[in-house]
Symmetry: D2
Subunit: 356 residues, 4 copies
């Protein structure tokens, strides 16, 4: 993923049309306001403050999982490496699609904790239950399997790196396969809001809590300054997770910063509302593109849209718009990513469409 | 370190006299205001935004070190483990006082990156150049030294965990010993502001830049919501440090959160001003305690004051005041820590003194 | 790789025709004799004994590399993990063919030291210089490469896991690409003797010393009880490698056990002579198979031969012969591996051919 | 520990009086003979050969522990790091005396697997149950213990690095404390034979099997070329230990090398007989020293004797005898170590005593 703008132009980018990612702005204003209101209160550190306590309660309620363990971390890679190294035994690896964030964009963070990422094919960014089952059958029928890293868990992202979503049926089958083969199932929800709010999406937080061993609710890409909320539906499933957070440098002294943000996002229906707005903006964009005869790389129901462009056209567009180069299609065409977010304004979509 | 308050009373703590640490409040109001003002600007991520760029320039200027590499991380343990694992080769360990934060309070974070902490005695929390030199001479004269973890760097904290400070003379000698034995010198400045602002303190940022290989300027405990600014005076001293931050989960997507905070703290003289306030409060406390005949455990020139109390008196005090139990003196006496900060009000000191 | 024999028959296997691997017997008799002759001599430990000293000299001479660092370790996985973790910086990964031993058969040993294995396609088990170059160009042109594990070295095996060999031309180009992109080149020579002795093989120890940064001369699979000799042609290329051996548990107290074995193997021309014998046996087998109309999976010039068999025939063969199941071809055919070694007798080949 | 001989004299050392360690010679002749007798038999690898199977049975019988898991590794540091990293969870550390081999002589091997060594005082090389209990009580009563590495196991050596032994009473209390606090107890028996054979020793293999979670029977220092036999009395206590051996490079392809050695050592009473011989030699030495008025540093009942010598006398002795310098006593006196072994001859003791 590349932001297709030259560095020297960063200053100019303010004000430009910019669809390069979903973490361009600060935080939803309600978060900043709550930070200001509570600023001079004294609170204990490390996640025991009243805001973390309140945010935990609201998240448990939203997941209909009153006993869940809930932890707040700062970012996605940090969350992935902390959860994965906490779940696995030393001889175990984690199964992931080849396009999974942990495999392709995290600088070897999982390996740095001592664990192998075992890759499987991706299907529009998704891992198939069938592939996992086949892998496990081959592994278990391999008489020399004790010489191999043992598959201990499955990592998926939802939405995926391609903006796609697991259906409830798909996740149910995958979860069932995981349980049959004693693999923990971990869902990276860095963009979870956009997955929950997608039209036709049939997976709820409650579903995730019943189908996954661990998942997280992304804040950084969905309206927070920073922060991801880990949900472990079965309390005590990862003993001493707090100490492992500390050990990985993932424990904020002023945990209130994360607590206040998630408490705000889970007050009223804010998290879903701002996610729905991003989805609306994505549809406005998608429909506009299709109406103009553009080709999409795949049919993404979430806030990331993947557009196929002829290369000279891509370069012309880059003069006025920031976007992410995604991958080459052939010698003359490329895929670019356009991301909307909670902060995208309809005028921005319209201006982009006018340019195309 | 223990916050000497029962958990169930956390709710009540708001409003109570609370000297348990220096990260009780949110951020200095100027930071929140700047976050609000810039909130809807779009900015590139990962530390390349205009606020990080500006903060870097100001920090380089403050250190009179125009070429320095400057990186922003979220917290102290994260900074320590990332810097130490980046500086050391696999066979090397880090020298630290037994009371060093990395040895005693970070859940084995350094060891989790594969490196041994080699402990030396502490002298009021400080490491002595003499002890380092003696250790190195013994190491180098040991014919089986190749069977031992090799000392590769020195870790110190300034102010130390006991609030004490290195003098310029002490740090110069330590730095000279490190250079003679090819040990990198890393200074943990989680509370650096309070060290710079201490009365009679003779070490400046410029001195640190000339004497250390790496140091950091603490934000979390000095008025920021979160954040530590790593300064590597010699540019390129740690190649690919950015990738190592990513790998350790220490790279915030919205780097602006850290950039804006440090840009604000280094605008005008804010960082030193708010630190000076904490020092003034500490002196008001210290003088009041001494006037009342109390005994201090040691003579701390910074914002942490260590008071010896008879145990029943300590327990009585705990009904009205939150503080940190530090350690036992004997069967009937204990040391407690009282911390002031940028946010402490004189009335709070006076109320505490009235209670004692 | 699977030894296609049921466990309960292990007792019967003694005496059976057995081509399942090249480490079935103990050691070449000359090694055992030398161990016996020197047994009661007192010698210093950890590789400083006179036999290690002598073996080092002989290996340096054989490589025409009088300054090389030479270290003796016990086995292949141990050697791979120790060398790779010693060569890489924390943010770096190692490039390997997907069929490379470190990727596919070592239980995540490299990852357990904190490093990612970056896989590339295999061409009959080999890595192509072209693929490495293309990978590096894509990596270097990727503007977000600092978010990825950085390629720091290349791992190859010679002979490969498929028995194939790099030509001098191929290795020269690969070496040149590595140097151009500052990648260390490490050659796993667990079966190196069989590679050096192969007919038409054009790579010598001297070539390896000039083309690789590190390589090792396998003993375990070429006549030793255990042991691999690491050669680092440029002395001092990996400082403190001894300490890293100690740290990984790869330093034998009685280093003489390894020194005596390699000193024997490099006395006269023993290492090459016994390797040539294995090659002769492999050709006898190969020619016999082709004469009988069998199909080989690929044209291996070394001691591992890969035969395509119809499945029922494979199962019938398994009643009388131990071999390794390698992989499925289709629903009715499989690939099996037949390995010869320094210890294979012509009568065994003839008996096997008679059965087929 | 230092072998007090200049390097350049290594060649001369052969034939010299040499008490510098207990791994100076090759192997007990019965082992070499058995290696020769079985050499050309074909056997499966990785510890499933008939000799490993037989050795396991004999060791289980000697421990009266018919269900025990038994694994064979090559050396002590390798065994320590593999067992410790297999037993601990990521957030846990291992308790050890400050003089424990893992803390003081293994190049940070345990830390390289990610775990902290938590040190306690030593009492003639031993850890006291009282100190462990006190540590645990302080840990458990520390309200911020979740910020610390969690104590997960206890490491002891028996005999210790000072040649001393735990009594059955001492080990029973220590074991009881470990069980009470859910700490695994791991006993490093690199010199176990000399501990079992010591006069007045009251701990048997059966006792170790009932009191420890894991222990090992040292071969390298007790008559083998290499090898340590790990005993895990409760089968399945460490699942997938085989894979962790592979991952750490601790799995020999020709496992027979270790199997044959331990099978020989546990045939008849060989292991104890050769250990008893070393004890006899140590007593001959000890009695001779005391008769001559020498002072011993402590009363070691095993094969390592620690002698206090005036420094000029020590240097004179070093002209004729190889020994290990242990530590300084004061400006004019040092402690040296003299080690006997299964291979020490009475004439050597007498010659040494004649020189003193």
């Amino acid at each position: 993923m590349t932001i297709f703008r030259r560095r020297q132009n960063e200053q100019e980018m303010i004000g430009l049309l910019n669809f390069s990612c979903d973490y361009l702005e600060g935080a939803h204003p309600a978060i900043l306001q709550r930070l200001a209101e509570t600023n001079m209160e004294k609170a204990v550190g490390y996640g025991d403050d009243p805001y973390c306590v309140s945010a935990r309660k609201k998240i448990r309620a939203a997941c209909r999982c009153p006993e869940a363990d809930v932890f707040f971390l700062s970012g996605g890679t940090q969350t992935n490496l902390t959860v994965i190294s906490a779940l696995l035994r030393p001889f175990e690896g984690v199964l992931s699609a080849q396009t999974g964030h942990i495999e392709s964009h995290e600088a070897g963070a999982v390996e740095a904790t001592g664990h192998k990422v075992l890759t499987l094919p991706q299907h529009e960014g998704k891992l198939s239950a069938h592939d996992v089952e086949q892998f496990m059958q081959e592994y278990l029928s391999n008489p020399t399997r004790e010489h191999l890293a043992s598959p201990g868990m499955v990592y998926i992202s939802h939405p995926t790196e391609y903006g796609t979503l697991y259906s409830k049926a798909e996740l149910s089958v995958l979860s069932e396969v995981c349980r049959r083969y004693q693999l923990s199932l971990f869902l990276d929800g860095a963009r979870l809001g956009y997955g929950l709010a997608a039209r036709n999406a049939d997976l709820t937080l409650e579903d995730l809590a019943s189908l996954c061993d661990v998942f997280y609710i992304g804040g950084t890409k969905v309206g927070a300054l920073c922060g991801e909320a880990i949900v472990i539906p079965q309390a005590g499933r990862i003993p001493h997770f707090f100490t492992m957070m500390k050990q990985r440098g993932a424990l904020l002294a002023k945990g209130r910063l994360l607590g206040i943000q998630f408490d705000t996002l889970f007050t009223g229906n804010l998290y879903l509302e701002i996610s729905s707005h991003a989805i609306d903006m994505a549809h406005r964009l998608k429909e506009g593109l299709l109406a103009k005869g553009y080709h999409l790389y795949l049919d993404s129901p979430t806030n990331q849209q993947f557009l196929i462009l002829e290369n000279t056209r891509m370069e012309r567009l880059a003069r006025d718009v920031a976007f992410s180069f995604w991958e080459r299609v052939d010698d003359t065409h490329s895929v670019i990513r356009l991301a909307t977010s909670w902060a995208t304004r309809p005028e921005e979509i319209d201006a982009l469409l006018a340019l195309l």
